[in-house]
Amino acid sequence: MILLLILVPLVLGSMAFAWPENRNRPVFLLVGAAAHAAGMIGLWVRNEPPVLDGFLFLDAVGKVALTATSTLFLACAVYAQGYLRRRDDRDNRVFVGGLLVLLSALTTVGVAQHLGLLWVAIELTTLATAPLIYFNRNARSLEAAWKYLLVCSLGIALALLGTFFLALAGAAPGGPRSLLVEDLVRAGPSLSKPWVRAAFVFLLVGYGTKMGLAPLHSWKPDAYGEAPGLLGALLSGAVTNFAFLSLARVYQVCRAAGEDAFARDALVGLGLLSMALAAVFMVGQRDFKRMLAYSSVEHMGILAVGLGLGGSAVAGAFFHSLNNGLSKGVLFLAAGNIHRAFGSKLTDHVRGAARRLPISGPLFLAGFLAVTGTPPFSPFFSEFVILNGAFGAGRFWVGGLFLLFMAVIFIGMGTTVLKVVQGDDAGTPSNPGFGDSWLTAAPPLVLMLVVLLLGLWLPRGLSDLFQSAARLVAGS
């Protein structure tokens, strides 16, 4: 089943590349997403033993990320049917094929238990998505694609060096001599400490670049700002989650080797820095897609802080990764609709989205409320767990700064969002034919309802999943 989850999107992607008809090529996306969702449900019902000599196995950590991604991808696939049909001026061969390859690569990251395989899959996600950023075929998106490609490839190369360092840590005679996570964790204290520490530094920089932690986030505003909303949703909702997953696995090994004090300080430091930077750049942001990018930086910071705090906050971090994935999906899809309907993404030109797009406009507002941690949406609860962990461990400075940055971000983001959504849309540029339709408005609506539902009632299965993931990584 795990192998099928990886291979089916890959096969569908190659078929999409070969398919000659532009109009009905997006159907492949729907088929792939549906198959993937069905597979995930199957794996929830009955988990599988490790495959391929232990290289692939779906554990709790992977399950969190894959569940979020599967849901998000399904919503995006439905959205893509409407969106790509309206954008049939563009050839969507690379887009559809690339998205399916991305799904396959992300699944591989989720189930990979071998750090080398994990790295190869993450590199594949970078290479698969860079051409997709260039979908709009203009100078700005080209510049964004170049920066994304260069910065992320640089980060991934450093992550490779870090992976090699980890392999070397276990290379002493009698050591595990393998890159399988369970071998490394089992050999824990016998791993060479200087190598593990150096490895963590490089892997934090490398996978942190892919996540978009400050100060390695410079590609995010450009890439998310210029990519189509659909791609932005997948990048910020799915890819960053898997980068966080990789970081969590590395942390798992570090903790087993006894280097976790150093790792935790680094994570909390970078996390707070990301939140601070996001707060600074969000105030007065005129481009609402770039604003969403900074929001993504902020949430990656929250995830890093959660992982770095340890204890009960780690489960909160995993819960938050699910919430973040879904909320970002809502925001980016709604933002994409607004962008298309007004033909611009600057607040100078966009007003009164709620009037022109009766579903996407209010959804954008609701998404903003969710993402900044307003109850009863689910991100409030996950952030609450993290804050609880901070104050409970006596780290009052961390908790205090966390709250401060969240407040600034709420104000900054709120000004932009309210400017976009409220008011009268008379006198703003208009793009007829890009109003709300079922295919483009229903997916974000459904995702929003899921976010609301998770906030009101968290199923027992999910909360157990987060706890077991936290136990695996941080041993609480």
Binding site: V120, A144, L160, F164, A167, L168, R177, P194
Partner: protein, 215 residues
């Protein structure tokens, strides 16, 4: 034999310093090609006779083909398309780049003292060379303005990672090395395509023109 291996490592670092100093793109690409060729010889020199000679040979030939022949050819084509000859004065000037490179080499040697190796005698210069090369690559990517030079910096960084991977060739399967080569090839291929588009869109490969997006 050990003396030859040391000479190769030292030559790799000298080539790093040379690329930091050179403003002619032709010379820089040739230097990186030479570095790739040197690195492809290293698996043969470093292999102890426990390994299968087949694996080692495939790795050497693969590295030679990709690093020394294929990728430089792609680079030369990119320059020819864009008709550029020289790098303009980079963000960090040539002299500060060289000095930073020298400092990086010294720091690499200093840091590698704290990283114990399983068999230190054979690979005395390996870790410092790898770290110094990675540092040079980073410096180039960050400070150069022409897209081709940035890709060259990325190549040099991957060369540094490759050098380090040679240490592991004894413990882990050749998959590790194959992974590096594959990554390099794929990444540069995609970069080449994007550069082609950049040239078409902006009529130049000067990334100074790519400054429309900022906050």
């Amino acid at each position: 034999m050990a003396a030859w291996i040391d000479m190769v490592f030292i030559l790799v670092v000298v080539i790093d310093l040379f690329t930091l100093a050179s403003s002619r793109l032709n010379a820089a690409i040739r230097a990186v090609a030479l570095q790739g060729a040197l690195l492809s010889v290293l698996p043969l020199l470093l292999a102890s006779w426990e390994h299968e000679i087949g694996h080692v040979l495939v790795l050497s030939l693969g590295a030679l083909a990709i690093k020394a022949i294929l990728i430089p050819w792609l680079m030369f084509r990119a320059i020819r398309e864009a008709a550029i000859r020289r790098e303009v004065e980079p963000i960090i000037g040539f002299v500060p780049s060289m000095i930073l490179g020298g400092v990086g080499v010294a720091l690499a040697f200093a840091f590698s003292r704290g990283l114990p190796l399983p068999s230190p005698e054979r690979h005395a210069y390996l870790v410092p060379t790898a770290l110094a090369t990675v540092w040079t690559g980073l410096l180039l990517v960050v400070s150069r303005k022409k897209a081709v030079n940035q890709v060259l910096g990325f190549l040099i960084l991957e060369n540094g990672v490759f050098v380090f991977g040679l240490l592991l060739a004894e413990f882990m399967p050749v998959m590790v090395e194959a992974g590096v080569l594959l990554d390099l090839f794929a990444a540069v291929f995609v970069m080449g395509i994007v550069m082609f588009h950049i040239n078409r869109e902006f009529s130049s490969l000067d990334t100074e023109k790519l400054t429309a997006l900022k906050d």
